[in-house]
């Protein structure tokens, strides 16, 4: 595996190609404020403290959520 390997993931239901990265890297690439989002990969939460360590792989289904108005 090389550093610039491209992976294909499903991000919030949409196919995305991106350079291999961690969950934290993905959040940064998307321009999101890390403190207002939560991420799960393949239906399992990746806690905030583990985002740096958690590398994404091809085929991962990633959900990035935030808080919105609701009752």
């Amino acid at each position: 595996m090389t550093g610039c390997e491209t992976i294909g993931i499903e991000l919030n239901g949409e196919r995305r190609e991106l350079a291999r990265t961690s969950v934290a890297g993905l959040v940064a690439q998307l321009g999101l404020r890390p403190e207002v989002v939560a991420v799960e990969v393949n239906q399992t939460l990746v806690p905030r403290a583990e985002r740096e360590r958690r590398e994404l792989a091809s085929g991962d289904k990633v959900e990035v959520v935030t808080l919105v108005g609701g009752g």
């Binding site: 999101l32 403190e35 939460l45 959900e63 108005g69 009752g71």
Partner: protein
């Protein structure tokens, strides 16, 4: 520093606080943050309502406007406890995942659990609600559970460890008020944890009725947010909550079929009763 005038509550109006898990509230109104025009209206409505606990929902980020303002910017967390919900979940597993995501963002163990039956009625699914309550309690969540007004189901949810039971007055957003006050009344007798009437509140009198029944609090959203003047309605809901609570504590008079004069029957300048027809 702005000067604030503290008006002390006279002892005869004093009330105990609402305690949910580790949180202590003097306001018994819980307010949702959905359906407002913008963050500014949300902020103003919350402030006017006097609430200390506000609900939020968990949704996919909008990847096109990722850097925009967050709802969290509009909610002063030193002032409001944030209660994330699992609205939109139709099975226990999704609700548990949603609660976990919310806990990761907010670093709170609180969750307003909703496991719904179908999108048209938004009625709570009792079996899924029980399953999810059990799992979330096991995972250390403090579960405030949205449920029907079924008293026995409320008892089961309490037994599973819910910190509050939240029966619907009527379907979410329907504005039909408290459709079955007797069910709520029985539920209040059977359940020891705080019972918060959640959903269906259309106007201030609905809040007052729930509080007069003895509910520990009322949670509402649409009733304020979709009113013609949300800020004025926020004030009305705040006052109704206080009025209903005080009426409950004061103890209403029993309903009677016949009249009971407020003025003395003695000392009339004429004989009591209608004069005989001449």
């Amino acid at each position: 520093m702005t000067a604030t005038t503290e008006i002390a509550t006279p002892p005869w109006l004093a009330d105990e606080s609402l305690v949910i898990g580790a949180h202590v509230f003097t306001s018994r109104l819980l307010v949702g943050t959905g359906k407002y025009k913008d963050n500014e209206e949300t902020r103003a409505a919350l402030e006017i309502s006097g609430t200390q606990c506000v609900t939020v929902a968990v949704r996919r980020v909008n990847l096109d406007v990722g850097k925009g303002p967050s709802l969290l910017d509009a909610i002063d967390r030193s002032r409001y406890v944030i209660l994330p919900n699992t609205a939109g979940c139709y099975d226990a597993a999704s609700a548990v995942r949603t609660a976990q995501l919310a806990r990761d963002v907010l670093e709170t163990n609180l969750v307003k659990l909703e496991v719904l039956g179908d999108p048209k009625t938004l009625l709570p699914d009792p079996v899924g609600t029980l399953e999810a309550t059990k799992e979330l309690v096991k995972q250390g969540f403090h579960v405030l559970v949205y449920t029907s007004d079924d008293p026995r189901l409320g008892v089961r949810l309490e037994e599973l460890g819910a910190v509050a039971v939240m029966p619907a007055g009527s379907p979410i957003g329907s504005g039909q008020g408290i459709l079955n006050p007797n069910a709520i009344r029985i539920l209040l007798e059977l359940v020891r944890v705080p019972v918060i009437v959640d959903a269906g509140v259309g106007t201030a009198s609905d809040v007052a009725i729930a509080m007069e029944l003895g509910a520990a609090g009322v949670l509402l959203n649409t009733g304020i947010a979709s009113a013609r003047e949300p800020l004025r309605m926020a004030a009305a809901m705040r006052d109704a909550c206080t009025a209903g609570r005080q009426a409950f504590l004061a103890g209403r008079i029993p309903r009677k079929l016949y009249a009971n004069a407020s003025s003395p029957a003695e000392g009339l300048i004429h004989a009591a009763g209608r004069p005989d027809p001449a």
